[in-house]
Symmetry: C2
Subunit: 423 residues, 2 copies
Amino acid sequence: MKQLILSLMALASFNAVAQNPTVPSVTENVVEDFKSASTNQENKQYPMVNSQRMVRAQITAPQATFVGLDIAGKIYAMTKDENGVWTGTSAPQDEGFHYYQLNIDGASVPDPGSKYYYGASRWGSGIDVPAADEDFYTVKNVPQGSVNEVYYWSSVTESMRHGYIYLPAEYYANPDKKFPVLYLQHGMGENETGWSAQGKTGIIMDNLIAEGKSVPFIIFMDNGLNARRPGEQPMGFGGPRPGGPRPEGAPRGQRPGGPQGAPQGQRPRMSGADFARMARRMGGAFEEVLIKDIIPMVENNYRVIADSEHRAMAGLSMGGMQTHGITLNNPTTFAYVGIFSGGTIGADELTDVPEFKKTNKVLFMSAGGKETGMAEGENSVNKAAEDMKAIGINAHSYISPETAHEWQTWRRSLYQFAQLLFK
Amino acid sequence: MKQLILSLMALASFNAVAQNPTVPSVTENVVEDFKSASTNQENKQYPMVNSQRMVRAQITAPQATFVGLDIAGKIYAMTKDENGVWTGTSAPQDEGFHYYQLNIDGASVPDPGSKYYYGASRWGSGIDVPAADEDFYTVKNVPQGSVNEVYYWSSVTESMRHGYIYLPAEYYANPDKKFPVLYLQHGMGENETGWSAQGKTGIIMDNLIAEGKSVPFIIFMDNGLNARRPGEQPMGFGGPRPGGPRPEGAPRGQRPGGPQGAPQGQRPRMSGADFARMARRMGGAFEEVLIKDIIPMVENNYRVIADSEHRAMAGLSMGGMQTHGITLNNPTTFAYVGIFSGGTIGADELTDVPEFKKTNKVLFMSAGGKETGMAEGENSVNKAAEDMKAIGINAHSYISPETAHEWQTWRRSLYQFAQLLFK
């Protein structure tokens, strides 16, 4: 669980844990077969990736004294040629999508060559490193659904909110049919754009449905971090403390049960449920918005089968922890539960096992193979799924090969989870 | 028309005409009532705008020797404080949306404080300067349509293409109703995201429909610059010459009828139709994609009234010139024509006036008040509309007060044009 909170903090911001160290650009044993990244802006040559999955960035900055490529926790010092063009190459990266940025004389800025994505609490550069299995998230000439940008009124926040809804191709083609719905949430430092842009949700679903591997369903993607009641302050790291204001007179750091309060060594062990509570607090009023505003809005405005057996919730990292807490808190609302790199639901958390078995159709937990705390051993998703299966729950686990707390793990998790839904 | 081509070039890139000059940051007579811009990233304080419509940018760049705010053709030199934080203020800007960027020691980069928009041939910073009339493009609690991201197969380019479709709220609420369609195009250096992001198309339409000022209709927004047949090279400035390859043996610069070929002073005067042809060539195979792929796809996949009286085309700048050419070329396809800051259709271009009067329901031409060539005098949209009305055509013109060749002109043009459609 310590690993999970460090992962959360790393996701939240480039410099949440510590300033990334500067290292020399890689120059030895580099295979010179670089190609422009698929995530580049139209007609931009750089950044590039080679067959070793090294990333090479380039930018013109004639008067700069330092330019660095800031990716995966390191800043690679780039070198300048006689025309003021800086170039630098990183060590090999994992397959899939990574946030990165450039550092120009101490300023952290987006790379003008890449498209921009919201993560690490900013709109900034991202790069997709080709993956052996990228076919499943490649646009193909199959029946196309659409990812739709919608605004809706929230009675909880008393404001217009913004989300995205995926409608499968059949939603348009078959106007009499009603569909199940998955509510799908992003991670810390991300927003409602993450699942469709970095996550490639619409493309993955169109392909899965065309191959007959998934039934067609609707997906709603909201912002799980910015739901605030009128007058409420932002939650999350640096926001108001979980558990409400510090009691009058109480010294800083002595919070009842919070993870950050007690002195080192005396902290009570946090359970999965504690993390789930924390994630729900970070989201502010998100649980209430989801239950009171989003689900009714989706079910009123779209052709939806409006019962728990046709309703799923899933999320990645913090979104998985929110899923953990919200689905346990609302056991008759969601029959399908997916937690991607967000820890596990333990059998000891179920207060009424027979009831859970009656309401839950699938419990899916996944992690990246490099997230060792969640991928291996006593706290792994595999162990949790085994324990759940032992008491008769339809639990599934999945480990994404050779990936970390990043989007390739979550694209693959969605691909796996979607095939289990509403069948 | 010279002004139009200069406007096109300025839109295409920050440095299409010349490197922007560096000027001192504005420090005198500045009213200190700056507020964070509505286009900022969540939780980012800068850039800010004050009541004089000055823009103030700020960035941390401790080791930099120069940082500038590059907006509206000038680079304002910012100044550094003891913490390495650079701040600078521009002269007053026009109301509405502007592309801008930062310059850090010679590198042109996006401002990490703003959201990013596609224009000037790059994803980069944009800022919305509050406008007296911004109510019409403000999100309100009215019935909400949606802007949908779609992929479709193009038989012309033999590839999957990417566009956006606006569906009004009633499309979802009234599943038996069919709707008219407007095909709406962006300008030079922009793409299919422009009309919904900078243009606020979905918001403008939801508000207009809710007020009963517009009938509900569908809008399709495509990329008018990247349509290329298999093997074809990119078109546009720097691409292949208009009019096909240079004849074998012919010296450079002696093109038949092209605007750039003949020596200064001997160039044939370009007509509106010449510009329209040029714009269509810049778009490559766009006309063919629109007629053969997009319109049939929209009419097959959505509930559409599929006849010319329920089909409109409009565009801004280059997109207006494409509209000019494509609608004259396909007179029985579109009954409604809108040209925003894209010149005029002259009565002398109509080869068959009675036929045009029979097929065209509305001809709308607009410009920004600061686009003097199009807003005033012999070549103005007002004059062109008068001439057209004189021969019995239902022509309309509109001048956007105090705006230039920018998005505020086009938001207002859409607001005006939409109210004339399909009635």
